[in-house]
Symmetry: C2
DNA sequence: ATGTGAAATATTGTATACCAAATGGCAGTC
DNA sequence: GACTGCCATTTGGTATACAATATTTCACAT
């Protein structure tokens, strides 16, 4: 594995020739930021399992940095809700209960509804044009069942729509919730790429036509369907885990310290 | 000023006698947390002005701790959106534009609307009872024009309603946005305590009666009115600042480094 | 075998010292 | 006044140390 430091150095060097003239300090990506990104990626893609312990010195060694950037990265991820820490016990990848997943999706439905409505209302020609070409490209990819490409287009659709609501708080929250939904899929998120695309295309059409209420309705329904699917997957995984006794490794190395209990 | 360390030690000692039997490590409040709280308080109450620079070593000396906890506190506050940092330039108290205030309030309207609706739908007897006694106490305080007490009751009202929606993401976001709105008031937030109380009491009544739509409507309107008032205050402050040339100290010591500009 | 408790070990939270890179001013020069 | 070179400050990061806790081990009793 290439070290974080090498990656930072390289990105800095590349930036030197591609970016606008900004101060060189601003170009430099801090190790903390690099570690944060690396860890976040490992968590949302499932390489780090929920409940897994995150030891500072172990991570420091893994990334070839000192403990400070790691501590700071863990703090940042805690603020994002991806890791949970308890005092003197350290950090773990956050464990989300099914109940919490339901709450997450419930709110995401409402925020995507708002976001779609606002986007359709505020939409300008530039957005409509971008969406139109995105839809064309996506339909093409859908005909070819090009899932990889579709996944990328799905992401681009979300980025476009999020930014177009012209409300940075709403955008931030929607993105944050969406990321957490993706996290729940972990690896298996290509499966629904085509269905997802079709729903996205319908929403895009509604936005292009300025039909705010339809865009809102379709968005909410889209998230609801996605959410139902995610919850079904989770339940199934849970059932499987419960079914095969013994062979399953413990998902979280949770051991209650006897002395602390009353 | 009492040191942070003394405060931490005391809170730990007090907790020893008031809390449930948990491990002693969990009782210990980290210096990082203490510094974070202290800084957050200084920012939202306006003791630290927007745009003000936050030097690590200066803060470390002020709180009598090393730079590490301070760095981590600044990072945490950055995640909360209270401070802004640029690489190699350090942290400043975040400066919120009027445009951003409008976006903040716009989203807060929608989330408070959602929250009130959900709370009215999910409300159980315990909540109704708590709200009823809160309303009685508040009306009493309002008759006596006890602003100090009313402010506390207003805060309690929000806490009650936020928690009752049974959606931790919604609760978190609503609380976060509300805190930022309070921040904009800074010191002068007792002024509207009585009007605020009356609006809260009406919302409480709607929740008690299970009238979700009325609760939602009143909540949205309440935030809208509060927001209009905040924005008016800000505009006025802006006008005043613009009017009195020379005498006003620079609100942000922002100096563009000539060499970085094209 | 199984549980218990004390000792051994590991980890976190914090401090300190130190360094390189970058920024922010300032004095001198054109 | 605008540029230039220089220097003090500040940040981001490393390394090391250490006390307070947590976790694991392991001998021992049941």
């Amino acid at each position: 594995m290439r070290t974080i430091k090498a990656a930072v150095a390289e990105s800095t060097a590349v930036a030197q020739f591609t970016e606008q003239p900004v101060s060189v300090g601003a170009r430099h990506q801090s190790l903390q930021a690099a570690v944060t990104r690396s860890l976040r990626d490992a968590i949302v893609t499932g390489r780090l399992q929920p409940g897994e312990r995150l030891r500072e010195s172990q991570l420091a060694q893994m990334f070839q940095v000192s403990r400070n950037p790691v501590r700071e990265a863990l703090l940042a991820l805690q603020a994002e809700g991806l890791v949970a820490t308890s005092p003197r016990k350290g950090a773990r990848v956050r464990l989300i209960s099914e109940e919490e997943v339901a709450e997450l999706i419930e709110l995401r439905i409402e925020l995507e509804r708002l976001n779609a409505r606002k986007t359709a209302q505020h939409g300008d020609d530039k957005l409509r044009q971008a969406l139109t070409s995105l839809v064309d490209e996506g339909n093409e990819a859908a005909r070819g069942s090009n899932r990889e490409h579709l996944r990328e287009l799905n992401d681009r659709f979300h980025s476009l729509v999020e930014a177009a609501a012209h409300n940075r708080y709403l955008s931030d929250y929607v993105r944050s919730l969406r990321e957490k939904t993706l996290w729940l899929f972990a690896s298996a998120r290509d499966d629904r790429a085509i269905e997802t695309w079709n729903e996205h295309a319908a929403i895009a059409q509604a936005i292009i036509h300025g039909d705010a209420e339809l865009a809102a309705l379709l968005s909410a329904r889209h998230v609801k369907d996605t959410g139902d699917w995610v919850q079904a997957q989770l339940s199934e995984a849970e059932r499987k885990r419960a079914g095969s006794h013994g062979s399953t490794p413990p998902r979280r190395e949770q051991r209650v310290h006897r002395r602390t209990a009353p």
